[in-house]
Every structure is written in structure tokens, then in C-alpha cells.
């Protein structure tokens, strides 16, 4: 069996490998190469070495401030999304009437695309702020919390589903045993349920962390970085470097490579950290 698997491994994975190579590996390698080049179109590039990387971190580029905004946004939204999603999941795994309806409703926002959501929330938030004769782009704080609100609204449902699946897989014997031993509901939650759903937490943390860090559509549609790029996140900063000015395509590319390294590093650290907390069932 093992042998046959090995023998046919290539044949069966070939389509995927080819697709992966064309859609990911080749563009990725080319992208890294282009980050060392000055170019306007990808087929016409000249090598400039590390200059793009120097430019990427120079003051006027706003890369560091975008990184700061992205980091604080990520911290806040990861915490709020996961707390909310877990709480709702807990509520919806009790036997409340209409659980299915609730689950569906909470999940629905996830079905809407980012650009649409961004514009919708922009309209809604502006409608509220209208009363105070101001708009979401008047103050960076509005933009920040608007974005947090939007992301929570969109992602809580999805994370909730994962948590529900995790919670329902907690063996009832364990919970009953805990009850017989006299554990309070709070103790049951912390000492039994949470360790048992640690694998769900790993997935949810990973998804929220990487999605928040890489956020683009929502950021572009909701504030587009206004006011004065104070609500500009990394992906948007890269996009605007690439398209905002002639001759800076390479710098945008260099930023994108740096961005990739940051995202990978954070994801790996987070994965190994939460994985270490997982328990065998």
C-alpha cells in the first residue's frame, strides 16, 4: 500500500502541483526578483540591487506608520473577534430555541464581499456621524473603530462555526465527570472545555490574525487611508506605493516581500504557541 502510494503520488498530485506552480510559485519567485529591480511593466525590468529596500523604509513612505496601525488593529480585532465568537458559540451550543436561525444569521455577514461591506459600513457610520456634522474620515479613531466593528461583524460568524464544532466535540463524559466532582460552570469552561477546543482556537487565531494583518478590501473601501494615511494598513500602503507614483513599482514590490516575511513569521510563531497548548483527546 505504502509503495503504491509512493508510486502514484506524482501522478495524482500533478494537476495540483502544476496549478500551484503556475498560480503561486512562479509569480512568487518573479515577485521576489522584481523587488530588486526598477520596472514599469513586469516584462521590462532592470536590476538595481537593494535600493528598493532602502527606499521602502525611508521616512516619506509611511511603511512604518502603516505597520503600527496594522499591528494595533490586528491586536484589537483578534481579541474582540475571538472573544465574541467564542461567547456566541457557547450560547448557541446550549439548547436554546431557534439556535439554527441564530447561527445562520450570525454566519450571513461572512457571505458578503469586502468591498461591498466597506462601502455599506461607510454609509452607515457616516449616517450616524451625520448628527454630529462629521464623517468617518474626520478622525483616525473613527476609522480605526469602524474597521474593528466591520471586521467583527464579518468574521465573528465564521469563527463561531468553528468554535461550535469544537465545543460539540468535547466528550460529554468529561463534562459530566467534572460536574460530579463539583466543578462550577466557570471551572468546567476553563479547565475542561477550553483545553479541549484548543485546536479550534489555533485555527481561529490563525485565521483572524492573518486576515486582519492582510486586510485590504475593507480598508480601501471604508476609509482608503483617510485622514492623511492615518488609517492606512500595510496592504493598502503597498498598493499605493505601486500605483501612486511613476518609478516606484519596485519599491512597492520590495515592501510586499517584507510584508510576506512579516506575515509568515507572525503566523509561525502563533501556530507553534497555540499548538503547544493543545491536548490529546
Amino acid at each position: 500500500m505504502e509503495k503504491t502510494l509512493k508510486k502514484y503520488f506524482l501522478i495524482f498530485t500533478l494537476p495540483t502541483v502544476i496549478a500551484f506552480a503556475f498560480a503561486f510559485l512562479i509569480p512568487f519567485v518573479q515577485g521576489v526578483y522584481l523587488s530588486f529591480c526598477k520596472f514599469t511593466t513586469v516584462s521590462n525590468a532592470t536590476w538595481v540591487g537593494l535600493k528598493n529596500y532602502q527606499d521602502a523604509f525611508s521616512g516619506g513612505q509611511g511603511f512604518m506608520s502603516a505597520l503600527g496601525f496594522t499591528a494595533s488593529f490586528t491586536v484589537v480585532s483578534v481579541i474582540t473577534i475571538n472573544l465574541l465568537a467564542f461567547t456566541i458559540a457557547l450560547l448557541l451550543t446550549r439548547k436554546i430555541k431557534g439556535t439554527n436561525v441564530f447561527r445562520t444569521v450570525f454566519f450571513m455577514p461572512n457571505l458578503i464581499g469586502g468591498i461591498v461591506l466597506g462601502y455599506t459600513w461607510q454609509q452607515m457610520i457616516n449616517a450616524v456621524l451625520y448628527k454630529y456634522e462629521t464623517t468617518i474620515v474626520a478622525n483616525a479613531k473613527f476609522g480605526f473603530w469602524g474597521l474593528v466593528l466591520l471586521m467583527n461583524w464579518q468574521m465573528v460568524g465564521y469563527m463561531m462555526i468553528i468554535y461550535i464544532a469544537g465545543l460539540q466535540n468535547v466528550p460529554t463524559e468529561l463534562i459530566e465527570a467534572a460536574k460530579i466532582d463539583g466543578a462550577t460552570p466557570w471551572q468546567t469552561l476553563i479547565k475542561v472545555k477550553v483545553p479541549m477546543v484548543m485546536s479550534s482556537i489555533t485555527i481561529c487565531m490563525f485565521l483572524t490574525l492573518s486576515n486582519s494583518f492582510k486586510l485590504f478590501d475593507q480598508n480601501k473601501a471604508l476609509t482608503d487611508g483617510a485622514p492623511m494615511k492615518k488609517t492606512q494598513m500595510l496592504a493598502l500602503n503597498i498598493y499605493e506605493t505601486f500605483y501612486g507614483r511613476t518609478g516606484y513599482e519596485g519599491v512597492g514590490q520590495a515592501k510586499a516581500v517584507v510584508f510576506f516575511i512579516i506575515v509568515v513569521a507572525i503566523a509561525l510563531v502563533q501556530l507553534s504557541f497555540t499548538r503547544s497548548k493543545e491536548v490529546e483527546q
Binding site: 513586469v42 457571505l111 474620515v137 474626520a138 483617510a226 513599482e249
Partner: protein, 476 residues
């Protein structure tokens, strides 16, 4: 039961995430930003040019001749261009493909399309700065019929070697569009500060009239004199580009140059004059301007909620197409943008163009020839001229067009009136503005000023420093 539900839900989650993944790439960008474009097929999203290409690709060209591929800049005339392409193919048998970039994505689409094997043979640049970006792809048009037919040769984009690389295909003008019916109603009121629009020939007079109109706005049945000064991100080009052109024009003029590496923003106070007038006599409070788009402004004007709006002759479509519009065709007129600069009594509209046709120098010779034939047909054949003027509404600056072959919408007529009444047109110098990044920062600063987060001096400093930085950055 419960387990089944979970698995069902998870299935839904899985499928939906896949759907979202597939759907977003193809639809988001064009659907959200270019309602006028004909869906994804004609307006390729930047993310998926490859998929789009194969979908839109027509049968291969005939063996002998080349083919034409035009990357169109204006989503509002996409349908017309498709019609022209079909008509030309029917007449000559040469294949013409027209693809329209979604609003605001032209550079991105051009960048990805021109790198492909089936690259556009005809594209457009926005002036000297655009030429700098695309000079490797611009064919020298000095000996082309297109250039020879240009009535004012000075309008073309030339390179350092003296070659002609971009030929304008239309002339446009902008100024303050006003609703004459409301103005006449105002002139009839007691104590009106002027008796006719002709008396308004300076900023001081304009300010007097506008402020008096604001005081009487309830009597006039308007919500404000000026339409809301749209400052939603991406909707601020009327200010950071068009309005900013006026002070820059005068600064260039004082120095007798056509471009500067550094500006002092000498006429910043004049910009502030008109800016304050716009935002303080508007249909909404300055703090709300960050939520307004250009279409909001144009709708307000079309519905008669305001008397004036700054925009160009291309805006006629936006005015006439608004549902329930109350403004009559004969009441739509132009007035120059007065900012309080000495001698502005003789100032006309801001007239120029940022639409230059370029032929791809890296296309095959057959394709280049086919493309030149196509543009020549557009400006010299009866059918082509008809399309240029009637369908596209272009005020074509070519000697092949007779006096009667001009667009006849009210704003175009006003434009010709100003071109012929001896006033000094303000040229379009914003084609020399350093970069999109500069314009975006300027627009962001204007928004901050409206929200009270920046003083005018801050705005002025930002313009001066960012101009110098961006000029230096793009000169490398």
C-alpha cells in the same frame, strides 16, 4: 441531528468561502466603481487580467493586416466604443478590440495588459508625466496623418528628442457651472449685488454675490450656493487637480515656465479664497464633505438644490441623466473660476486636455499600421467623425472637422463661446503635477482643513514640500 447540522453548516461555510474567493476577483472592482462599464468582460479587474483576456479575446486577425486593440480610458463611453469597433470592422474587415478600464484603474490595467502578448496597440497617456512613464511604448507620430491634422500642434506631447508621442483627441474645459434660472431669480431679488452674470468678473464680486445668495437661500429655494465639495477619498480630483491648476498656472506664468521642480505655492491665498467660499456656502456643513462623492454634487446641481458646481463640459451627461432633474438645458452655463488674482477679469475657462492617444511602439508593424489607419478613419471619414462628435462628444482639435462638426451639448457650446470671446484660457498645467501620490496628499490635506485638523499654513507647507519631494522622487 446536531452533528448533521454542524456538518451541513460547515459545508455551507466551506462552499461560501470558496464562492467568495472566486467571486470577489472577477466582480468587485468593476462593479463597485464603474457602473457605466459593461460588466467584467470589458472592464478587466486588475487582479484577473489573464482570465479576462482569454474571455474577451476575439478570433485571430486576418492573415495579412494587423489588428487594433484600444484600451479605453472613459467608462462612460464604453458602449459607444464597442459600437465604433464593430462598425469599423464591418467597413474594413480589420479587427478592432476595445477594452475599457474601470474608473480610476487605467494605469493598473495598462500596466498588466501591455506586458502581455496581446498588448494594446492604442492607449492613452495624460500628458508629460504620463509620457515619462510610458515613453518606452510610445511611437513617434511626427509623420502620421493624425498629427498632421492637429490644428494646434502645440497641444501634442513631445519628447526630449523632438518627436511627437501623444496626440490629443479632444479638448475639454472646466470652470464653475451655474444654473442660470436660479441666478436670474437671485438678480430679481431686492438688493441683489449684481444685475447679471456678466457683472461677476472677479473674485470680490463673486464672493459678494455668493454670500448674499446664501443669506437668501430659502427665498431662492436652494440648500446652498455651491454643490457639496466632494472630498470622499478618490473623489477629490476636482480640487487637488483642477482647482489647484489655477494657482499653479499663474505661478508658472510669472516665472515664464511650463514646469517647475519646486513651487512656492505663491497663490495659495487665492486658492484659499475660493476654497473657503466653496465650503462655507455649500449645501452641507464643511465637516460632512468627507462623505460626498462627485455624483452627489452633480445630482444636487441637477435637482436644483444648488446654483453652482465646479466641473467640466464632460459633466453634462451626469447632469442630464439624473432622474427628476429640474435644470433646463438652456440654463446650464459656465463661469471662470475667479480666485482674486490681478487681471482675472479677462480670465476664461481652464481649457486643455489630458487625453492623448499613443500608439504602442512595441506592437508589430502591421498592428501599428492598422492602428494608425483606424485613428485616421476616426478623424477623417464621415462615419468616424460622426462617432467622434455625436457618440463620444469629443471637441476634436483636428483640421478635418468643420465648424458644424462639434458637439452640441450646452456645456460644449459654452466652451466654444469662451474659446472665441477673446478671454485668456487657463491652460491645463496639472498634467505636470508630480504624481498621483502628490495629488492624493493634497486632497487629504484639504479634507483635514475642512475638518479643522489642519490650518491653511499646514496645507500650504504640505503642498510645497510634497511637490518638491515627489518631483525629486519621480525624476530619478
Amino acid at each position: 441531528m446536531k452533528k448533521k447540522l454542524i456538518s451541513a453548516l460547515l459545508c455551507v461555510a466551506m462552499v461560501s468561502s470558496m464562492l467568495i474567493g472566486c467571486g470577489s476577483g472577477a466582480t468587485e472592482a468593476p462593479a463597485a466603481e464603474a457602473p457605466a462599464a459593461e460588466g467584467e468582460a470589458e472592464a478587466p479587474a486588475a487582479e484577473a487580467p489573464a482570465a479576462e483576456e482569454s474571455a474577451a479575446e476575439a478570433p485571430a486577425a486576418s492573415a495579412d493586416g494587423g489588428k487594433v486593440y484600444y484600451l479605453n480610458f472613459k467608462p462612460e463611453v464604453d458602449a459607444q466604443w464597442q459600437e465604433i469597433a464593430a462598425a469599423y470592422t464591418a467597413e474594413t474587415g480589420v479587427e478592432v478590440k476595445v477594452v475599457t478600464a474601470a474608473s480610476g484603474t487605467y494605469e493598473e490595467v495598462l500596466r498588466s495588459e501591455i506586458a502581455g502578448t496581446d498588448a494594446p496597440t492604442l492607449f492613452q497617456i495624460n500628458g508629460p508625466v504620463g509620457y515619462q512613464n510610458w515613453k518606452d511604448y510610445c511611437l513617434d507620430l511626427t509623420n502620421s496623418e493624425l498629427y498632421n491634422a492637429l490644428s494646434d500642434k502645440g497641444l501634442a506631447v513631445t519628447g526630449a528628442d523632438g518627436g511627437v508621442y501623444g496626440v490629443p483627441y479632444t479638448v475639454e474645459a472646466y470652470g464653475i457651472i451655474y444654473n442660470d434660472a436660479i441666478m436670474q431669480a437671485y438678480f430679481a431679488t431686492d438688493g441683489a449685488k449684481a444685475a447679471s452674470v456678466d457683472e461677476i468678473n472677479s473674485f470680490a464680486k463673486l464672493k459678494e454675490v455668493v454670500e448674499d445668495m446664501t443669506a437668501k437661500k430659502d427665498d431662492l429655494g436652494i440648500q446652498g450656493v455651491f454643490a457639496s465639495t466632494s472630498l470622499l477619498p478618490g473623489e477629490d480630483w476636482r480640487w487637488q487637480t483642477h482647482l489647484a491648476n489655477v494657482p499653479v498656472y499663474y505661478e508658472y506664468k510669472d516665472n515664464n515656465v511650463g514646469d517647475m521642480a519646486e513651487i512656492t505655492f505663491k497663490y495659495s491665498d487665492n486658492f484659499k479664497n475660493i476654497w473657503d467660499l466653496y465650503i462655507n456656502n455649500s449645501t452641507c456643513a464643511p465637516g460632512l464633505l468627507g462623505s460626498k462623492a462627485v455624483t452627489d454634487s452633480m445630482a444636487e446641481f441637477a435637482l436644483g438644490q444648488c446654483a453652482m458646481v465646479q466641473n467640466g463640459n464632460w459633466a453634462w451627461g451626469q447632469i442630464s441623466d439624473v432622474e427628476g432633474n429640474t435644470v433646463k438645458e438652456e440654463d446650464v452655463k459656465f463661469m471662470p473660476i475667479y480666485t482674486g488674482i490681478a487681471g482675472e477679469e479677462n480670465q476664461g475657462l481652464c481649457t486643455g486636455t489630458e487625453n492623448f492617444w499613443c500608439v504602442n511602439s512595441q506592437a508589430s508593424e502591421a498592428d501599428q499600421k492598422a492602428t494608425l489607419d483606424f485613428v485616421n478613419w476616426m478623424i477623417s471619414s464621415d462615419a468616424g467623425k460622426e462617432y467622434m462628435v455625436q457618440s463620444l462628444g469629443n471637441a476634436a482639435p483636428f483640421s478635418t472637422f468643420g465648424d458644424d462638426e462639434k458637439p452640441s451639448d450646452p456645456l460644449a457650446m459654452e466652451m466654444f463661446r469662451y474659446m472665441e470671446n477673446g478671454k485668456n484660457s487657463v491652460t491645463w498645467n496639472f498634467t505636470t503635477f508630480p504624481s498621483q501620490a502628490f495629488k492624493d496628499d493634497f486632497g487629504a490635506a484639504l479634507l483635514e482643513y475642512c475638518n479643522g485638523n489642519m490650518t491653511w499654513d499646514d496645507v500650504k507647507d504640505l503642498v510645497v514640500t510634497r511637490w518638491a519631494e515627489e518631483k525629486a522622487a519621480t525624476a530619478e
